[in-house]
C-alpha cells in the first residue's frame, strides 16, 4: 500500500534541489517562541547532524517535519511541493520515517502489529480489508532476526516484553526496512549499550550511502562529528550554525553550543 519508494534513482551525491526545504519556520506556544525563523535545506543522500542543547528546538523542528505539529509561521517543502496539511500519516506516505525517543511503540500490541501499525498489509475478502497476518508475521520475524534481537522474541508477543534497548533497536529496524527516503533519528543511541551504539551509527552511514536523507539528532557533538556530512546547530529556537563537517572541528562546534546555552538561561525551556 505504502512503500515510501517512488522508484526514482538516488544519486549518491547531493543533487541541487533540496528534498526537504524549511523556510522561515517559526513556532510559538502563546508568547513562548519555540522556533524562530528557522531556514534549512536537507538533501537526498546526506547525513545531517542536528545538534543543540536541551530546549534548543531540535525535537520541535523534527515534530514539524514529521507532521506531528504544524508550524505557526513559515513554509515547509518536500521534494519541491509545499506541505499544507501536517499529519504524521502524510509524512509517512511521503517516505519519511522518524525514530522518536519516547514514542513510537504501543506496549499492548504484538511485535508484528507494532511493526505495521498505520500501514497494515491487507488481504481483501469480499472487498473488506483483513489483516494479512501471515505477511505481518513473516516480515516482522525477518526484521527481528536481521537486527539481531533475541531468538526467543516471538512476533506474536506484546512488545512490552522487550527491553528498552531492544525496543529502540526495533524502532530503528522498522524505520530502516520500509523503503523510505528520509530517516530521522531522535537521540537514537540513548538507552543503548556501547556495542549497540556503534551499530546504530554504522547503520546511519549505510542508509546515507544507500541514498537516503538521514537527519541525526543528538547533543553529543563528538559522536556526530565523526559520521555526519553537515552539522546544523540550533540554539534557543534559532539556527546558529550550518556548516559542512570538514569546515569546523568538533571542539569549535562544542564551543558554539556552550556559548549559546549561556544566554539561554533566562528563557523557559521546552522539552
Amino acid at each position: 500500500m505504502i512503500t515510501g519508494s517512488d522508484g526514482q534513482s538516488r544519486p549518491a551525491g547531493s543533487p541541487k534541489k533540496p528534498l526537504i526545504s524549511i523556510k522561515n519556520v517559526g513556532l510559538s506556544y502563546g508568547n513562548f517562541q519555540a522556533l524562530t525563523d528557522v531556514s534549512v535545506d536537507f538533501y537526498q543522500g546526506e547525513l545531517v547532524g542536528l545538534v543543540g542543547d536541551n530546549g534548543a528546538g531540535k525535537t520541535t523542528l523534527i515534530r514539524i517535519i514529521s507532521g506531528i505539529i504544524p508550524p505557526t509561521s513559515g513554509e515547509v517543502y518536500f521534494d519541491g511541493e509545499r506541505i499544507i496539511k501536517f499529519h504524521p500519516k502524510k509524512a509517512i506516505d511521503l517516505g519519511l520515517e522518524c525514530i522518536q525517543q519516547a514514542i513510537g511503540l504501543c506496549d499492548n500490541l504484538s511485535v508484528g502489529r507494532n511493526y505495521f501499525l498505520g500501514r497494515e498489509p491487507v488481504r481483501r475478502i469480499l472487498g473488506l480489508p483483513f489483516l494479512d497476518k501471515k505477511k505481518i508475521r513473516e516480515a516482522s520475524a525477518k526484521v527481528v532476526h536481521d537486527f539481531g534481537l533475541r531468538d526467543s522474541v516471538d512476533v506474536d508477543d506484546e512488545i512490552a516484553l522487550l527491553s528498552g534497548g531492544e525496543k529502540q533497536t526495533f524502532k530503528i529496524a522498522r524505520a530502516v526496512t520500509f523503503r523510505n527516503r528520509v530517516i530521522i533519528m531522535d537521540e537514537p543511541t540513548n538507552h543503548l549499550s556501547v556495542r549497540e551504539r556503534t551499530r546504530v551509527n554504522e547503520l546511519a552511514v549505510q542508509l546515507k550511502q544507500q541514498g537516503l536523507l538521514v537527519i541525526y539528532i543528538t547533543h553529543d557533538i563528538f559522536q556526530i562529528h565523526r559520521i555526519a556530512d553537515r552539522i546544523v546547530i540550533l540554539e534557543n529556537g534559532r539556527k546558529v550554525t550550518d556548516v559542512p563537517r570538514d569546515a569546523m572541528s568538533a571542539e569549535a562546534l562544542e564551543g558554539i553550543i556552550r556559548d549559546g546555552s549561556r544566554t539561554s538561561t533566562k528563557e523557559p525551556k521546552v522539552s
Binding site: 514529521s66 506531528i68 499529519h87 504524521p88 500519516k89 502524510k90 509524512a91 509517512i92 506516505d93 522518524c98 522518536q100 519516547a102 514514542i103 513510537g104 511503540l105 504501543c106 506496549d107 499492548n108 500490541l109 502489529r113 507494532n114 505495521f116 501499525l117 498505520g118 500501514r119 497494515e120 491487507v122 473488506l128 480489508p129 483483513f130 489483516l131 497476518k133 506474536d156 508477543d157 506484546e158 512490552a160 516484553l161 527491553s163
Partner: protein, 323 residues
C-alpha cells in the same frame, strides 16, 4: 508450566472469564438441581444477556481506546422510546432506523466533545447521560410507547427482538452477529489494530500516522448505535417502554466489560469475554431468583464480583507480562 499458562492467557485474555463461566454454570446447575439449565431459564437468560452484551460491546470498543462511555444507559432508553414511539406511526422499519440514527447522533455528540475538543470522556458522557435521561422522562409524560398488535406482526419488529427463531429470541442472533462483525473488525482488520494502538499509547499511534481523532470519534458513534439497538431490541421484546428504560444499565455494561477482561486503561479488550461477562451478570440474577433469594442481593454480589474479577485479571496480567 507457568510459561505455558502465561502464553495461553497472553493470547486469550478472556481465558479467565471462560473458566469462571464454566465454574459458575456448573455450580449453578448443581445447586439448583438442574433448573438453572432449564429451557425456559436459558431462553430468558439468553435474551437478557444479548441486550446487555450488545451495549457492553460498544462499551468495550470505547474502553479499547482508553475512553469510557457512561451515557449508554440513556442512549438505549432513547433508542427504545424512539423505536416504539415511531413504530405504530411509520412502521417498525422506519422506527428502527430512526432509533439507530438517534444512537449515531448522541454517539456523535459524545465523539465531537471527546475527539475534537479533547474533553475527558467520563465528563462528556456524564453530561449526555443526564441530558438524555431528562429527555426520556420528559417525552414519556405525554406519549405512549407501546407496540400495537399491527406492529407486533411486522417482520422487522419480530426480526429485531420481538420474535423468536427456533425458540431463541432474535435479539440473541443479533448479539452473535455483532460479536462476529466486531471480532473481525477489532482483531482482523487494520482499523482494529489502530483502535487498540490508541488505547495502548495514543501519542505513539499518532506518530505512526494513525488518525486518532477520527477513530476516537468513530468508537463513540459505534457505542451510541449499539446502545440504541440494544434498547430497541429489549423494547421490542417487552412491547412497551417507559422513562426508566435503560436506567443504570451503563454500570452493568461497564461491569460486563471489566468481567470480560477489558482493561479500563485501554488497549486490551476481549469481546467474547464481554459477552460472557454479560452472561455471568445475568446468570447470577437468575440463580438468585431460582434460589428464592431477594434480588436485592444481586447488586451486592455484582459489586463483589467486579472487584474480584479486577483482582483476578490483574494477577493474570502480571503473570503474563513477567519476562
Amino acid at each position: 508450566m507457568r510459561a505455558a499458562i502465561a502464553h495461553l492467557v497472553r493470547r486469550h485474555p478472556e481465558g479467565g472469564t471462560v473458566t469462571l463461566v464454566v465454574l459458575i454454570s456448573l455450580t449453578f446447575a448443581i445447586v439448583t438441581g438442574g433448573s438453572w439449565l432449564s429451557t425456559g431459564n436459558l431462553q430468558s437468560l439468553s435474551q437478557l444477556t444479548a441486550v446487555l452484551a450488545i451495549m457492553a460491546f460498544g462499551e468495550a470498543i470505547v474502553i479499547a481506546t482508553g475512553q469510557i462511555d457512561i451515557s449508554v444507559g440513556s442512549v438505549s432508553g432513547i433508542g427504545a422510546l424512539t423505536f416504539l414511539g415511531l413504530a405504530p406511526v411509520v412502521g417498525s422499519g422506519f422506527g428502527l432506523v430512526a432509533a439507530l440514527l438517534f444512537g449515531v447522533l448522541i454517539g456523535g455528540i459524545n465523539g465531537v466533545f471527546v475527539a475534537f475538543l479533547g474533553i475527558p470522556s467520563l465528563l462528556v458522557t456524564l453530561g449526555t447521560l443526564f441530558l438524555f435521561q431528562g429527555i426520556g422522562y420528559a417525552v414519556t409524560s405525554g406519549f405512549s410507547f407501546a407496540a400495537s398488535n399491527v406492529v407486533r406482526k411486522q417482520f422487522i419488529y419480530n426480526g429485531f427482538g420481538g420474535g423468536t427463531v427456533a425458540g431463541v429470541n432474535t435479539g440473541v442472533i443479533w448479539a452473535l452477529t455483532i460479536l462476529v462483525v466486531l471480532q473481525l473488525a477489532v482483531f482482523e482488520m487494520p482499523v482494529g489494530n489502530r483502535l487498540l494502538a490508541i488505547g495502548g499509547d495514543a501519542a505513539s499511534s499518532f506518530s505512526r500516522g494513525v488518525n486518532v481523532t477520527r477513530i476516537k470519534f468513530g468508537v463513540f458513534v459505534v457505542s451510541g448505535v449499539l446502545a440504541a439497538l440494544s434498547g430497541a431490541l429489549d423494547a421490542a421484546f417487552i412491547g412497551y417502554a417507559d422513562g426508566s428504560f435503560g436506567a443504570g444499565m451503563e454500570l452493568s455494561a461497564i461491569a460486563a466489560a471489566v468481567l470480560g477482561g477489558c482493561h479500563l486503561a485501554g488497549g486490551r479488550i476481549s469481546l467474547i469475554g464481554t459477552l460472557l461477562g454479560a452472561f455471568i451478570l445475568r446468570g447470577i440474577q437468575s440463580f438468585l431468583i431460582i434460589l428464592g433469594v431477594q434480588p436485592q442481593w444481586y447488586i451486592l454480589v455484582v459489586g463483589l464480583i467486579v472487584v474480584l474479577a479486577g483482582l483476578a485479571d490483574r494477577t493474570l496480567t502480571r503473570l503474563v507480562l513477567k519476562r
